[in-house]
């Protein structure tokens, strides 16, 4: 199913507009990956991925292991490094569903009934360099399109003045594919937006403002440029590249106003800013991302990825993890509440994940090593069972024993919620039909609402 990247045959339209072209007309011609029919009726229309780079310790957050607490300090059975390390944090059941959540997440605990928690996730990749791409592309090594690119390819964009795939976190040190389109058409890759604030300063998008021209001058310039390019297109007959170039100018022009408008926090009430934790040192960076994610979701952006790093707690778990959790707890809880209040949670799928989990035994006495055999991912909204828990890891949380869910299965499930059959969402490249899930993946039906 390889569609042309744009829905309209724009050539005739462009030809028709050659004389007396104004920006009003230009602005009316949408530039986007065409909306496409899903394979079946979708539960979710868009995704917000909260990516916790480094590998969140499931044992200290969402996967309660009383036996680990009880046996803390004992030699770990395999003799592989270290002694068992009980969680320094207390767990409690929350909400009507009775989800076990540790005291690291006091705010999120109040949204316990929104969460669908997968506690027996697993992946092959054991190092960040392979596990991050594995999570994002389904392949640890080779260049493959990212999850967001596949979703955009499958469903197209709903936005006319914003890209359909926006990422606010940088995963560049883990290769260029985590937000990329690889062999899918380039229009499916993420546009990076900087969330501003203390750690994300600078323009939200590079080159968003012209310093050398007034808006009127630039508009005149773009009209002139559009005429030149349109005349060329008329001469070329068929030229999809040039159509894409013209479209890219149209989108760029609109982004100059839509992106700053959308990212103007002055339009948000003081209460909203406070609810997300914007302005508080501990939470500001991620709170901005969460609020922007809501705004982009509301504007119809198909796939939004935000995230923080620093979850790689090999040592000093207690101090470090307290900081990491505090940075995201309140913002995420506010995001869920805000989405629900705006009736967006219904068709927005929120996913909280890292590349793997952590070991029940200690590293450097007070930290935890990578654990790819069991970790926790949770989802909320968008057609998943709320207040539900799927899968079980062993008594120490070292590996999954029931309801194990591989990254491919998670991908299949996400696509399913969006109305896409992961086996039918294929792209022919280099003589082969490629899928996000390669030849694997099964939809985890137990988590579907």
């Amino acid at each position: 199913m390889n569609p042309p990247p744009f829905s309209l045959s724009r050539r005739r339209m462009l030809r028709g507009t050659l004389s007396g072209f104004g920006y009003a007309a230009l602005a009316g011609m949408c530039v986007r990956a065409a909306t496409r029919e899903p394979h079946f009726s979708p539960k979710a229309k868009r995704v917000i991925l909260l990516y916790m780079q480094g590998g969140v310790s499931h044992l200290d957050t969402f996967d309660h292991k009383p036996k680990l607490q009880a046996d803390s300090g004992k030699e770990y059975a395999t003799g592989k490094g270290g002694r068992l390390l009980g969680s320094p944090w207390k767990f409690k059941q929350h909400g009507q569903s009775g989800q076990w959540i540790s005291e690291l997440f006091p705010h999120l605990s109040k949204r316990a009934d929104d969460l669908c928690v997968l506690t027996a996730m697993h992946t092959e990749a054991q190092a960040h360099e392979t596990a991050v791409p594995m999570f994002h592309t389904g392949n640890p090594l080779q260049a493959r399109p990212s999850l967001g690119a596949w979703v955009l390819y499958g469903l197209g964009a709903e936005t006319e003045n914003l890209p359909g795939f926006i990422a606010m976190n940088s995963l560049r040190q883990f290769g260029g594919n985590n937000h990329g389109s690889a062999f899918l058409p380039a229009s499916f890759q993420a546009t990076h937006v900087k969330p501003g604030g203390k750690d994300g300063g600078g323009d939200p998008v590079a080159n968003l403002k012209a310093a050398h021209l007034t808006p009127e001058q630039q508009q005149a310039q773009l009209r002139f440029l559009h005429r030149m390019n349109s005349r060329r297109l008329a001469r070329d007959g068929v030229n999809h590249d040039l159509e894409a170039l013209i479209s890219s100018y149209e989108m760029a022009f609109k982004m100059q106003s839509t992106v700053p408008d959308l990212m103007d926090l002055g339009r948000e009430s003081e209460a909203t800013l406070k609810a997300y934790g914007i302005g508080s040192t501990a939470t500001d960076t991620f709170a901005r991302q969460c609020l922007y994610a809501r705004k982009f979701a509301e504007a119809g952006v198909r796939f939004i990825e935000i995230g923080t790093g620093g979850w790689d707690h090999h040592k000093d778990l207690k101090a470090e993890m307290t900081r990491s959790a505090a940075a995201v707890d309140q913002p995420i809880a506010a995001l869920l509440a805000d989405l629900r209040q705006r009736d967006l949670l219904r068709d927005t799928l929120v996913v909280f994940a890292g590349e793997f989990g952590r070991t029940p035994f200690a590293q450097f006495d007070n930290g935890r090593d990578h654990n790819n055999r069991a970790f926790t991912v949770w989802m909320a909204g968008g057609g998943v069972k709320a207040g539900h828990r799927h899968g079980l890891s062993d008594d120490y949380g070292r590996e999954g024993v029931e309801g194990r869910v591989h990254i491919h299965d998670l991908h299949a499930t996400l696509l399913h919620l969006l109305g896409l059959d992961h086996e039918r969402l294929t792209y022919r490249y280099s003589g082969r039909d490629f899928r996000l899930t390669d030849v694997k993946g099964e939809v985890v039906r137990e988590v579907l609402a």
């Binding site: 530039v31 395999t78 092959e124 360099e129 890209p163 040190q173 290769g175 260029g176 389109s181 380039a186 229009s187 890759q189 546009t191 990076h192 998008v205 590079a206 080159n207 968003l208 403002k209 012209a210 310093a211 050398h212 021209l213 009127e216 001058q217 630039q218 005149a220 310039q221 773009l222 009209r223 002139f224 440029l225 005429r227 030149m228 390019n229 005349r231 060329r232 297109l233 070329d236 007959g237 068929v238 030229n239 590249d241 040039l242 894409a244 170039l245 890219s248 100018y249 989108m251 760029a252 982004m255 100059q256 055999r373 590996e399 999954g400 024993v401 194990r404 280099s430 003589g431 082969r432």
Partner: protein, 805 residues
């Protein structure tokens, strides 16, 4: 327990006579059903595809095992890989892969093996055919010898200008298609200039009688080597830092870059170009300059991504070899041989043993990177190669000493700290605030003594570092021979599981190329170079002419330039590919001659015009019924804009060798002094650092220097448009261009004419003049420079500038 211990004896008995009924029942009820249900789909004669060479459906099969060794050793659970697999003890071998068996079932298997693995199943397990069939593999088109096919007959004798035109036209005529019209001279002039130099053509002088489409002058311009070196450096995954987790500078890598530029400008025959890059250190040289060039050439094998954090020398060496095999095989042969590291190649006829035959060649050599490994005393791969006739040399012993002192200094500092702590604790003081007591502590003789050790060690280290810095300008990044040794197969790529040792050599599927065996006392790099550079090698010339074709047409005859294997695309015109390859060899592997010949063809000189019928039958233009429109790559784009604005410094910048500080990771260095001197030079002379490729370059698809990139991505995204609309770079150069044009512009029309000529290399149409003049009027009349700059910027953003038509 006692029962289990007795079982081996029982088993001997049983095997001699008949199985004890009780054991039989155990197998039938507890073991067989699990094997059938959970294992047979991948490990039985009936499996669609047998995995890991392992068959579990017979007694013989389960005991013989698969690629990793016996699955079951009767009576020895500890030596039964099957148990390791089902217990999920080995992360790479967790079986069944989908879900772990219940603990009770695993216990049954333990018990069964301890019992002696009684197994009534008879029948011999099929011997797994080797997964690679070399003879069958040789039939693949790319492994067949290069033919010199007869030039085909064509119906329209008036169209072809060269033989290659006949190959093209014959294929078109077969489909009932015709080529479109020829390109206009000014279009062709721009096309040729960018293709040969990466820069726009010089301003035309209407009185100049020479043929605007004659490429001779441009082929001889130094700009030619800069343009084509960039193509090769994409393939050579060229970068000036190690990448990976410990991304340190390769301060001498630029010598390899300059070698490539010079070799292309000198039209070094391609076979020689190969020999020099793989074994330049082993070739005779007639002068010091030649020797140094040849040494620099082996930078090809040095500049790849390295994990300098790797502590194990063995793993480090294997990783170096792996990267070198990958780059060498993709770049020169269009083969993905590195895929055969852990298992036989999934698609191509390359068994794992072929991989290790090559690995031995590379592990018998040593790269001298001039870059330290993290906290390593061992100098493997780190040293400096002295230039021929170098006045200052930093020897291996110096290097080892420098590394040792660096580590020693760290330990000496720790010793001081520990001594201070010891004293503080002794005095009952809080060691957390040792700073507070420093004066007191440093007056104590035992501390002073240790501090002197620190000072002495640091001083000695500093002296060596100064000598190192002094030697760098006289040093190279290059390969040298190491102790020649064959390499053992690493089962599943793991350094702990060694299989048979493989003699150094070349892939069997290509054994048809006559090969000098690798001598015992040499690495084999020289023989490898000769083997690849052989005119009888079926891949080498084909791969290179395809690269050349791709750079001149936008797509290769083989669309996957780095993969000529079974997963690659077959050539669109196999006879033409062979025709070109045999001419390339016949003309002494001259890249310039090949380019000139292609440029002289009519097919290269076609226009990009549309043709409804041809477009319907061949939308991707695989048959070349017209010329492809090609986007300017990031280097051509930035160089051209700078050149047009008069800002581009064309000469080669003097080398800058950045200092080597204690912490030499890119992220902790201030590199302004390194970047500044080349900022106005062609992009090829600007440093390329892994993970720090400039955002602007990446935006316009500059490739990630991690991997061999024979064909760049070509994207069109709004963030590029924003760059062309708003970036300070484009605004600055539009302004500079306008400043060049304004003094001689007497009217709006002359300004538009001059801008169009300078930026688009053609005269404007009357419509364009009218529209541009109207646009200029929308600016305040008193500010001509603003409006002229806006005009120039518009032209920079136009499709006609961004594409070669």
């Amino acid at each position: 327990m006692t029962k289990i211990m007795k079982r081996p004896a029982l088993f001997l008995l049983a095997s001699a006579t008949a199985l004890v009924a009780e054991d039989m029942a155990f197998f039938e009820t507890k073991i067989r059903p699990v094997l059938v249900e959970k294992c047979h789909s991948c490990h039985s004669a009936g499996a669609e595809k047998v995995k890991g060479g392992l068959l579990l459906d017979t007694r013989e099969g389960i005991r013989r095992g698969g690629d990793s060794g016996p699955a079951v050793t009767p009576g020895e659970p500890a030596n039964s890989l099957l148990l390791t697999a089902i217990r999920y003890q080995d992360r790479d071998m967790e079986m069944p892969p989908k879900e772990k068996l219940p603990a009770s079932v695993i216990a049954d298997f333990e018990k069964w093996i301890a019992m002696g693995a009684p197994d009534p199943r008879n029948g011999s397990a099929a011997v797994m055919p080797p997964t690679v069939d070399i003879e069958e593999g040789r039939k693949h088109w790319a492994f067949q010898p290069i033919s010199n096919p007869p030039v085909p007959q064509v119906k329209d004798e008036s169209w072809p200008r060269t033989d290659m035109d006949r190959f093209i036209l014959a294929a078109l005529e077969e489909k009932g298609l015709r080529p479109v019209a020829d390109a206009a001279p000014e279009v062709l002039r721009r096309r040729i200039a960018f293709d040969l130099t990466g820069l726009p053509p010089d301003q035309t002088d209407p009185t100049d009688p020479s043929d605007p489409t004659d490429p001779t002058d441009l082929l001889n311009s130094p700009r030619f080597g800069e343009r084509w070196a960039r193509h090769w450096l994409d393939v050579a995954r060229y970068a000036e830092s190690a990448g990976g987790g410990h991304n340190v500078l390769f301060p001498l890598a630029f010598r390899y870059r300059d070698y490539v530029i010079d070799a292309l400008n000198a039209d070094t025959p391609y076979d020689q170009f190969i020999r020099e890059q793989l074994a330049g250190d082993l070739l005779p040289a007639r002068s010091d300059a030649r020797r140094n060039a040849q040494l620099s050439a082996t930078g090809f094998l040095c500049v790849g991504v390295k994990d300098l954090r790797e502590n194990s020398n063995h793993r480090y060496r294997m990783a170096l070899a792996d990267e070198q095999i990958d780059a060498t095989s993709r770049a020169f042969l269009g083969l993905t041989i590195a895929c055969a590291k852990c298992h036989d190649h999934k698609f191509d006829p390359i068994p794992t043993s072929d991989y290790y035959a090559l690995a031995g060649i590379f592990t018998s050599s040593e790269p001298l990177l001039g870059a330290r490994r993290n906290r390593q005393r061992h100098p493997l791969g780190a040293g400096l190669a002295p230039m021929a006739g170098a006045p200052v040399v930093f020897s291996d012993a110096d290097f080892a000493q420098m590394l040792k002192l660096r580590v020693d200094a760290t330990y000496a500092r720790l010793a001081v700290r520990d001594e201070k702590y010891r004293i503080l604790i002794e005095k009952g003081l809080d060691r957390k605030n040792s700073e507070k007591h420093n004066a007191m502590l440093e007056a104590i003789p035992s501390v002073q003594k240790l501090m002197r050790v620190v000072e002495d060690t640091e001083a000695a280290c500093e002296a060596l570092r100064a000598r190192y810095a002094a030697a760098q300008p006289h040093s190279l990044m290059a390969m040298r021979e190491d102790k020649p040794e064959d390499c053992a197969i690493h089962i599943r790529g793991e350094d702990t599981q060694l299989g048979p040792v493989v003699k150094r050599g070349f892939p069997q599927v290509l054994a048809t190329v006559e090969t000098a065996p690798v001598p015992q006392d040499q690495s084999g790099r020289l023989q490898l170079a000769e083997w690849i550079a052989s005119p009888r090698h079926p891949l080498t010339a084909r791969v290179m002419v395809n690269r050349i074709w791709q750079h001149l047409f936008g797509a290769g005859l083989v669309e996957t330039p780095d993969d000529f294997g079974l997963t690659g695309q077959p050539p669109s015109n196999p006879a033409l590919l062979d025709h070109l390859a045999s001419r390339f060899i016949a003309h002494g592997w001259s890249v310039k001659k090949m380019i000139a010949e292609i440029m002289g063809s009519r097919v290269y000189q076609l226009s990009t015009a549309h043709d409804g019928k041809a477009h319907e039958m061949d939308p991707a233009n695989r048959l070349h019924w017209r010329m492809n429109r090609r986007r300017l790559g990031s280097d051509a784009l930035f160089d051209a804009v700078r050149h047009i604005s008069g800002d581009l410094a064309l000469e080669r910048p003097a080398p800058v060798i950045p200092p080597t500080p204690q912490d030499d990771r890119v992220k902790s260095m201030d590199l302004k002094a390194w970047f500044a001197p080349t900022a106005r030079h062609r992009t090829i002379y600007q440093p390329v650092l892994r993970d720090h490729v400039p955002e602007d370059w990446k935006l316009f698809d500059f490739p990630d220097p991690e991997l061999v990139t024979g064909r760049r991505a070509q994207t069109t995204v709004p963030t590029q448009a924003l760059h062309l609309m708003n970036s300070p770079f484009i605004a600055e150069h539009a302004r500079k261009t306008a400043a060049l044009l304004l003094p001689s512009a007497t009217s709006a029309e002359t300004l538009v004419r001059a801008a169009c000529e300078r930026i688009l290399n053609r005269a404007p149409t009357p419509d364009e003049i009218r529209e541009a003049a109207a646009f200029l009027k929308s600016f305040p009349a008193n500010d001509k420079s603003e409006s002229a700059a806006a005009l120039c910027q518009t032209l920079f953003g136009s499709a006609e500038f961004l594409y070669l038509y």
